[in-house]
């Protein structure tokens, strides 16, 4: 069963737009929610992460919104650029360092 559900699977936006990627989780033991960014031919790299004690975290143009009661979190990319074109994975973990990933969202930002 998929413990972290991610949508959409693909997303195309114009430069300057605000793509939003959503994730939902089931396991209430999760206490760490990272987003990873993966460029073609590379491994994923940590982009930004949040813990459930805050509802929002912002780093540069990237923002995570977290809704603990709904067990949902999302990634927003402000003023998106063609260089943001990549695959984005949400993830969740807790306890044993075993990270569960979403299926990924392939984002394309059109100039």
């Amino acid at each position: 069963q998929q413990q972290v559900k991610q949508s959409p699977q693909s997303l195309i936006v114009q430069k300057g737009g605000i793509p939003i990627i959503n994730c939902a989780y089931e396991n209430t033991a999760f206490d760490y929610f990272p987003w990873y960014q993966q460029f073609p031919g590379k491994g994923p790299a940590l982009l930004i992460a949040i813990r459930p004690d805050v509802s929002e975290k912002k780093e540069g143009r990237f923002t995570i919104s977290f809704n603990k009661s709904a067990k949902q979190f999302s990634l927003h990319i402000m003023d998106s650029q063609p260089g943001d074109s990549a695959t984005y994975f949400c993830a969740a973990s807790g306890g044993y360092q075993k990270v569960t990933f979403g299926i990924g969202t392939k984002l394309q930002v059109i100039p």
Partner: protein, 112 residues
């Protein structure tokens, strides 16, 4: 600079071969992981290890085994490769009580 190095970027193997995928990290991390990445399925955990000679099954261990004889090295073994094991394989490592995982560049394995 932290580094996780996978021995091969691309591999082509025949059905039934025994295949070894090697991963080395230079960060003195306790935890190491093997994932496979498939379109529409995301990253799925095959095995992980939190110490030398220790291993735990992930979500899809069937058809795979692992070896961790040294802290910095974690090997994934396909005992008898099959075409359904054609995939991108990613190794990762992390510190014991830290959540951030560092990934290698991946090995694209094709089994023919």
């Amino acid at each position: 600079d932290v580094k996780v190095t996978q021995s091969s970027r691309y591999l082509v193997k025949r059905t039934g071969e025994k295949v070894f995928l090697e991963c080395v990290q230079d960060m003195d991390h306790e935890n190491m992981f093997w994932y496979r990445q498939d379109p529409g399925l995301g990253l799925r955990l095959i095995y992980f290890s939190y110490d030398v000679k220790m291993k735990e099954k992930g979500d899809i261990p069937e058809g795979y085994s692992v070896s961790r004889e040294k802290k910095e090295r974690f090997s994934l073994i396909l005992e008898s490769a099959s075409t359904n094991q054609t995939s991108m394989y990613l190794c990762a490592s992390s510190q014991l009580n830290r959540d951030q995982a560092f990934f290698g560049q991946g090995t694209r394995l094709t089994v023919v």
